[in-house]
Symmetry: C2
Subunit: 333 residues, 2 copies
């Protein structure tokens, strides 16, 4: 197998985050399901935005947040995602490249604007996302560069890619190239409602070994197997995929592999500010640990550390060097 150029290449919906604090009443009045990601059209986006308070804007997108975290740990990182060639697309492109991530997907020159997520952060730190996919709709298999995929040790894909119309073909193309080159393929289930929309297809991806590693949180796991029995769901997950990590917020995570199941605690935090990006950054640390052969337990601890950093401030991208943070906490980087 050729020397890898990238440790991780991530593919996802490129989404600009518009973050605002809101009270519970705002969610109720606007018919939002707290903690979820809901797809919205342009009309609904305008209506929500009109009612929202003053915002903070930052680049986001689930897999993009993850890959920025991988780069922050010191990993060699690349991203594939579609923005439009507009002002917000320009900000987005700057931010991900400035984070040290290779990003060469050709921006759309026509069609809808760069995608945005209107993220309401309630007093308990929970985030509720309303996502207008915009240009992310236009990611196609043509955006997958075989050479870049084959040169990446892990290809990481988000379940949200099932929402835009052509992205799943890009997903499958990337997974096929990766496996053909002897690489690994990882998937995050993204959101419990997303799992509900694509349960059968996600299970097929796992059972047909299109993916080697699955990230899920508890809600996504329960949704995947339509059961409230955590142990039963975990047992089924172990049958369906080679390696799985189930994140459980402050309860830490479980790493399930052929070797058995390892539980790793969460890092303690001073103050929960905004959960946006918690799962994304957990994946950053775990993936980085894997490519550094740190072992599942250390990989999970790196994930927990990155998640702890990102939930203590507004926004889904790390504000400090995760490499330095890991060193300070005696973890291998």
């Amino acid at each position: 197998m050729a020397e890898a150029k990238y440790d991780v290449l991530a593919i996802g919906n490129a989404i600009f985050d518009v973050l605002v604090r809101a009270d519970e009443k705002f969610l109720v009045d606007h018919g939002m399901t707290k903690g979820s990601m809901t797809l919205i059209d342009e009309v609904r986006a305008a209506a929500i935005y009109r009612d929202m308070g003053p915002a903070t804007q930052m680049s986001g997108g689930s897999a993009a947040n993850t890959i920025v975290g991988v780069a922050s740990f010191g990993g060699r990182a690349a991203y594939v995602g579609k923005v439009k060639q507009d002002q917000i697309g320009g900000l987005y492109t700057h931010d991900i490249r400035a984070a040290g991530v290779a990003f060469d997907t050709r921006p759309a020159t026509g069609g809808p604007a760069t995608g945005c997520s209107y993220i309401l952060i309630t007093g308990d730190g929970e985030r509720t996302m309303n996502t207008y996919l915009g240009a992310a709709q236009d990611l196609t298999p043509d955006d997958i560069e075989p050479a870049a995929i084959a040169a990446s040790r892990i290809v990481y894909l988000e379940g949200y890619l099932w929402d835009p119309k052509n992205a799943k073909d890009a997903f499958v193309k990337a997974a096929t190239i990766a496996h053909g080159a002897g690489r690994e393929v990882a998937l995050t289930l993204s959101d419990s409602f997303c799992v509900d929309r694509y349960r059968g297809e996600f299970l097929e991806l796992m059972r047909e070994r299109t993916v080697d590693l699955v990230f899920a949180n508890e809600a996504e796991l329960h949704s995947l197997y339509q059961t409230s029995d955590f142990d039963a769901a975990l047992a089924q997950l172990r049958k369906d995929v080679k390696l799985a990590v189930v994140t459980r917020s402050e309860k830490g995570c479980m790493v399930a592999s052929n070797d058995g199941v390892v539980a790793v605690p969460a890092f303690s935090i001073e103050r929960l500010v905004d959960t946006t990006g918690a799962g994304d950054l957990f994946a950053s640390g775990f993936l980085f640990g894997l490519v550094r052969n740190a072992g599942f337990e250390n990989a999970a601890r790196l994930g927990a550390l990155a998640a702890a950093e990102v939930i203590q401030h507004i926004g889904a991208r790390p504000q400090i060097s995760l490499k330095e943070l890991a060193k300070q906490n005696g973890l291998p980087v």
Copy 2:
């Protein structure tokens, strides 16, 4: 005099802030003067942005930050400033309106993009601003609505308005209308290099009573009178303007009026994160105190409180209700 519709109407350069942490070396390597606001053209903006790290984006602009603070205290507030009808102009317009500020200036449909400031925040919390004026260049006297000006108890203007080519005419028009309606006119000197560029004109505005109230920090005061003698400069300032407030960072401020000079201490803070907006938010509190007839000392304390809030997080807009904060601190609102 007719009942006022607005407590404060602010006029300034509408600027979108692109904030990033940087080290001192970045400033040196890019020939930046730490703590200053430097005007840049589009080419330099692109060069600085290319080299900058991942950013956080928020609406800014000095007088706009001030008026958002006035609204956060519960004041009736309006803003005049020029954005372009582009994506960033849309974000800008949303944010200021969502803060409760009336904002009806017609956006430019052609010409340069909405202005941006590339703000480098160093480890000591100091901010260094590189501002591309963009559409703010296109503010003209036509943008001044006489009825809105006449209906505002205080018209607040930023010294930065001397930089765009037509804005000073808008400034003078607004001041003339305000005085004709029996209203007060306030000016912030904005930046010591700005004072250096327009010293003679600023002194003339004061000496000809075009402005009634001047805000300055120490560096601006020293620049205005080209002296390092603080007491001499303050004495001269008292001769030149009816009411003046000199802010001195952690040393608090001095309010100079016909009644004498009152020193008011700064509020203590837990951690200095980012000084962006400190002077702007001081002005919010002081202006709000004035229109509520709170007295100079209480007005200065409201200013100090708002400044303390804004320097403890990234960005120049308050993150919590200043009205609530003032109540918690036993100040009149």
